[in-house]
């Protein structure tokens, strides 16, 4: 597929995540939209890795084995960081709920006075 299709798909998923973070007031749904944004970036990286692999193996006469692997390993590390971030973030949300008994982000905003 032309790479523009993947760019449009990943950008659309990213913007749906951004709209979700702006619109919803539940802290857990906001967190889920952040994960959606991370996944859209992962899709973009894998598509670009295949594009570079296709370009590299077309340029050389022998098949270039390892041209696009950097992007896919970066996706692997993004997943690692996302997993760690989810565990800490959910611990914070559970602690917030235990103190306030609500997961509304506007509620905590009003508490600063």
């Amino acid at each position: 597929m032309p790479i523009q299709y993947y760019i449009i798909l990943a950008s659309a998923l990213f913007c749906i995540g951004v709209v979700g973070v702006l619109i919803r007031r539940n802290a857990i749904i906001i967190f889920m939209c952040i994960e959606l944004m991370l996944n859209s970036v992962n899709l973009m990286l894998v598509a670009f890795s295949k594009m570079h692999y296709g370009l590299g193996s077309a340029d050389n006469k022998i098949v270039a084995v390892n041209i696009g692997t950097d992007a896919q390993l970066f996706v692997f590390f993004i997943m690692v960081v996302a997993a760690a971030e989810v565990s800490v973030g959910l611990a914070i949300i559970v602690m917030m709920y235990r103190n306030v008994h609500s997961t509304d982000v506007n509620f905590l905003n009003r508490l600063k006075n």
């Binding site: 597929m1 032309p2 790479i3 299709y5 950097d70 989810v86």
Partner: protein
Amino acid sequence: MTATEILFWFLSILALFSALMVLISKNPVHSVLWLIVVFFAISGHYILLNAQFLAIVNLIVYAGAIMVLFLFVIMLMNLNSNTEPQRNSLIKLAGVIGGCLLLTVMVSAVRSAGEVSNNRALMNEGDIGLIQNLGKILFTQYVVPFELSSVLFLSAMVGAVVIGKKE
């Protein structure tokens, strides 16, 4: 249209529709289930691009572990559809317009760039997604970030336990 193209369009529409349903659902449990559908669609895209290792890791880590964690927390807090307050309608409209503008800017900035004008993402072929080739590069060139990620996991675990402790 070949089977690959049909699958690409089907998975793309499924991913976009499920992402919209994540936003629109009132019940948080429904949002989690729609997000799991999004992860399955993205794993399908990875398999189409022959990135097999990432497809399986995506399913196991994201849909298998992270979403289960989200479900645990939602069940723990006993959230259902009538406990979430809604934002002002004007703010919702402004958010949607802002998101559409962001999409327009991002797509128009990239679509006529020289690097991506005529290139295709190679589907159904290529060996770089296989776990053997990725593993060779991971454990030779990127072994330091790999070991550091284990320290990251340890610190995240300690942090989560310390935050969650009852005093």
